[in-house]
C-alpha cells in the first residue's frame, strides 16, 4: 500500500510506477505519457510517500523486468553487494539527507553509489530541489583519462562541435580553428556527421586527427556517427579518439537506435584495442530525457527514471565523457525554460551519482518556449554544480543540426567568471600557444587565423 492523507484528502498510489511518475516536477513528456500528477497537491502527496519508500523496493521492482530487459540486467548485475547491503533499508528521504550531509565524505558517496540502482537514484532526485541538485552534484568529482584528464576540481572542459551542413572538411577545419582559439576542445573535438557513410566518416576522422597531430594538441577526437560505422573505421585503421553512441534506458529503446548491450561491449573492446589515446577511458555516450517515450519503449515509466537507466547502462563502460542533450528533444517532452533547467540539473546530478564524467549540451530547438538567455542561466547553474564540460558551437548556432547550444564564448566566460581552468594538459598547451595566461584569454585568442601558419 502506498497512501497518504494530505490536507484532509486521501491519496492512494497503486504502485511504484505511478508514484514515481506523480512525484516528478512538471514535465510535458510525463503529461503526454499520462504519468504526471493531476494537481500540485497530488505531486506533494506523492513525494511524502516516496520519501518513506525503502531503497530495496526499487531493486525488487525495476522499471523493466530483469528477465525481459538487458538494461535492467546490466544495472542489477553491476551493483556492489556490500554497498547495497549497507543502504538497502534506508528510505529515499534518508538517502537525500545523507547525500547532503556535511558529515558524509565525497569518497564515501562514491563507494555507496556503487550499490545504488538507477531507479534508487531517480527516486532521490525527485526529492531534490534545484539547489539540492547543484550542491549535491558539486561534491561529486568524477575524473577520467584518455589523452588528457577531465573532471578535476577547478576545471571546466569543452566539447568542440564544429559541424558543417554537408561535412565539408574545410568548413569543419575552420570551425575547429575558431574553437581552439577560444580554448575550447579539451573534452573532445567531436563532429556530428550529416552523412553517416563509412567513407565520409573516415575522411573527417583523418582531418581532425591531422589537426591534433600538426599542433600537438593534448586532446581526443571523435566523429559521432552510428557506433557500427565507427567500429568499421577502427577495424580499417582510422584514427579514433573516443567511440560515441546515443543510448536509451531500455532494451527496446536501444533497439530503435540500432544497438544492443552486446554491440556496445564489442565497440568497447575494439576501442581498447585500436583507439589512439592512452586511455583507459575511451567511450562517449549521449542521452536525454524523453527518448524512451518517443520510441514507445518506456514501459509506462516516467522520463526521469528512464534517463537514470541510461546512466546505469553507461557506467558499465567507464566512459571518458557522457552528456545529456537536454533541450534537443522538443517541447512535447520539455516544454519551457523551467522544465529544461530542471531536467539539465537532474541529469547532471544523476550522472555524477552514477560515477559518470557528466557534461551537458545546454540547448533548445526553436519551437520550445525558451531562449538563449535561459540557456546561459542553466550553464551558470551547471558550472556551479561542477559540470565536467559544455558544448562549444560557433555563437551557439549549430549550422547542421538546426538548434542552439552554447558558444565558444560561453565556456570562455564561465571559466573567467567562476575561476575555472581547462584540463591541465590542455591548459599547458594553450599557454604554450600564447592563447591563455593564468586562466584568461590573451589578446591573441579568438583568432582562428593563428592556425594557418603550419
Amino acid at each position: 500500500m502506498l497512501r497518504t492523507r494530505l490536507f484532509g484528502k486521501t491519496y492512494d498510489f497503486p504502485d511504484l510506477r505511478v508514484l514515481m511518475g506523480k512525484a516528478n516536477e512538471e514535465k510535458s513528456g510525463d503529461r503526454l505519457a499520462g504519468l504526471a500528477a493531476s494537481s500540485a497537491e497530488e505531486r506533494a502527496a506523492a513525494r511524502f510517500v516516496l520519501a518513506e519508500v525503502p531503497l530495496s523496493a526499487f531493486r525488487d521492482c525495476p522499471a523493466l523486468p530483469y528477465e525481459g530487459d538487458e538494461v535492467t540486467r546490466v544495472i542489477i548485475d553491476g551493483l556492489n553487494e556490500a554497498s547495497y547491503r549497507e543502504i538497502a533499508g534506508w528510505t529515499v528521504g534518508e538517502l537525500r539527507e545523507w547525500l547532503l550531509s556535511n558529515e558524509t565524505a565525497p569518497e564515501e558517496i562514491a563507494r555507496i553509489a556503487n550499490g545504488l540502482s538507477s531507479e534508487m537514484i531517480a527516486a532521490v532526485t525527485k526529492l531534490m530541489s534545484n539547489l539540492d541538485l547543484v550542491y549535491a552534484a558539486s561534491r561529486l568529482r568524477v575524473v577520467r583519462h584518455s589523452v588528457n584528464t577531465i573532471g578535476l576540481p577547478g576545471r571546466l572542459s569543452n566539447r568542440l562541435q564544429p559541424n558543417h551542413p554537408t561535412d565539408s572538411p574545410e568548413g569543419v577545419r575552420a570551425a575547429i580553428y575558431e574553437g581552439l582559439s577560444y580554448g575550447c576542445g579539451d573534452a573532445v573535438i567531436g563532429i556530428n556527421p550529416a552523412d553517416d557513410s563509412y567513407a565520409s566518416v573516415a575522411r573527417i576522422l583523418d582531418m581532425a586527427y591531422d589537426i591534433v597531430r600538426t599542433w600537438e594538441i593534448p586532446t581526443q577526437t571523435c566523429v559521432l556517427s552510428h557506433v557500427t560505422t565507427q567500429m568499421r573505421c577502427l577495424q580499417q585503421g582510422s584514427p579514433v579518439g573516443l567511440v560515441f553512441q546515443s543510448i536509451c534506458g531500455s532494451e527496446k529503446g536501444n533497439a530503435s537506435f540500432g544497438i544492443s548491450v552486446g554491440m556496445l561491449d564489442e565497440a568497447a573492446t575494439l576501442a581498447k584495442k585500436h583507439c589512439y589515446p592512452a586511455g583507459p577511458d575511451y567511450m562517449y555516450f549521449e542521452t536525454g530525457q524523453g527518448s524512451a517515450l518517443s520510441a514507445d519503449a518506456n514501459n509506462g515509466w516516467d522520463q526521469l527514471t528512464l534517463e537514470a537507466r541510461n546512466y546505469g547502462l553507461a557506467r558499465r563502460y567507464s566512459p571518458f565523457i557522457v552528456n545529456t542533450v537536454v533541450g534537443f528533444i522538443g517541447p512535447e517532452y520539455l516544454y519551457d525554460s523551467e522544465q529544461i533547467h530542471r531536467a539539465g540539473l537532474e541529469d547532471h546530478f544523476m550522472g555524477k551519482l552514477h560515477g559518470l564524467s557528466m557534461g551537458c549540451d545546454v540547448c533548445y530547438t526553436n519551437h520550445a518556449n525558451t531562449s538563449q538567455n535561459a540557456s546561459e542561466n542553466l550553464a551558470v547553474l551547471l558550472a556551479a554544480a561542477g559540470c565536467n564540460y559544455f558544448m562549444g558551437v560557433p555563437l551557439a548556432d549549430d549550422s547542421m543540426l538546426s538548434y542552439q547550444s552554447t558558444a565558444f564564448h560561453d565556456t570562455a566566460a564561465l571559466r573567467q567568471l567562476l575561476r575555472l581552468r581547462p584540463a591541465p594538459e590542455f591548459e599547458a598547451w594553450l599557454e604554450s600557444m600564447g592563447l591563455m595566461r593564468d586562466g584568461r584569454l590573451t589578446p591573441k585568442a579568438g583568432d582562428a587565423s593563428v592556425f594557418l601558419s603550419r
Binding site: 558543417h164 554537408t166 550529416a194 549550422s399 566566460a413 573567467q416
Partner: protein, 349 residues
Amino acid sequence: MMEEERIEAIIEAVVRELAPALGRGDSPAATTGSHNAAAHGAEAPAGAGTAAPSAQARVPPVAPAAAPPRAAMPSPRPPAGATAPQGLSIDLEDPMAAASLARPGVAKPADAEGLAALKDTTTARICVGRAGPRPRTRDLLVFQADLAISKDALARKVDPALLSQFGLFTVSTMVTGGREEYLLRPDLGRRLSEEAKRTVTERCAKSPDIQVCVGDGLSARAIEANLAKILPVIQSGCQVAGLSLGTPFYIEGCRVGAMNDIGDLVKPRVLILLIGERPGLGRADAMSAYMGFEPRSGHSDADRDVVCNIYDGGGVNPLEAGAYVIRLAQRMIAARASGVRLRLAEEKA
C-alpha cells in the same frame, strides 16, 4: 511580374523534361534526390535536381533569405517634449541586410586574408571576434534578430488571402487549444477532426492520382514563402504527365501523420503534403514536401519520402522542387510504393 515569368519558364522546362520520360513510360533518371523520411528526418538537406546540398554553402552566414521585418525606426525629428539630446538622429538601413555581416569581426587577426577565407568555408558563425570572453555587440544583436524571426514564425497563422488565392478550403486537426496544445500534443495534430473528415469527404474528389494538401506545421512563413511558387508547378506538372489532381485543401494544426487520415478518406494514389519545417535560427521559410503512395492508417515515416529544405536562396528552389515532386510521384506510381519499399523496389528493378 518577374515572378510570373519565371514560373512560366520553369513550367515550360518541366513540360520539356517530362515529355520524353512519359513517352518512354518510365521514371526520370534523377533517382539520387530521394531522401527517405525515416532515415534522414526533416533536417537533412534534400538534393532535388540541380539544387544539390552543396548549394547550402552559398548561403550568406547570417542573412536570412527574405528580409526580416524592419525594426521600428526612430523618428528623425525629435518628438515634442522629448528628452533626447538635440540633434540625435538614428536611421538605420536594415542591419540584417548589411554586406558587412559577411566580414570577419576579429580585431587584429594574424592573417586577415586567411581569416576571411576560413569564414567563407562554412555557414557556421565563425571568425566573429569577441568583447573580452563575450560576443561582440553586432553578433549578439544579429543572433537575437535571427531568433526573433524564428520565434515569430511559430506564432503566426498562414495568411487567409493566400489560401483563397489558390482556392484552398481550411480544415483542422484534433488540435483545438491553439499553438500550445499543438506543441504539447503531437498525437492530436496527426488526426483530422470529425468535422474535417466530413468536410473532406463532401468536398474532395475521390481516388485522384495526386492529392495535394498544405499544412502549417511549425512555420506559417514557410507556406507563405513557397506555396505560390511550388503549387502552379505541381498543377501543370500533373497536367503534362496526364495525372489527375484531386481537390487541394489546407490543414491547420497539421503534423505529417495527418497524411494517414487523408489517405483513408480521399484514397489518392500519391499524397503530397506541403508543410512548414521547424524554423532554424534566422531561417523560418523552409518547407518540406512529404509524400506517400496510397497512405493509410498505420503508415509511418518509413512509408514516406520527403523533399526538405525547400526555400529560395540556398535551399531547394521551390520551382525545381515542384518539378521534382512530380517526377517522384511518377516513380511511386510506377513502383506502387513509397519510402523504404520504393527504394527496395527500384533496387530490384
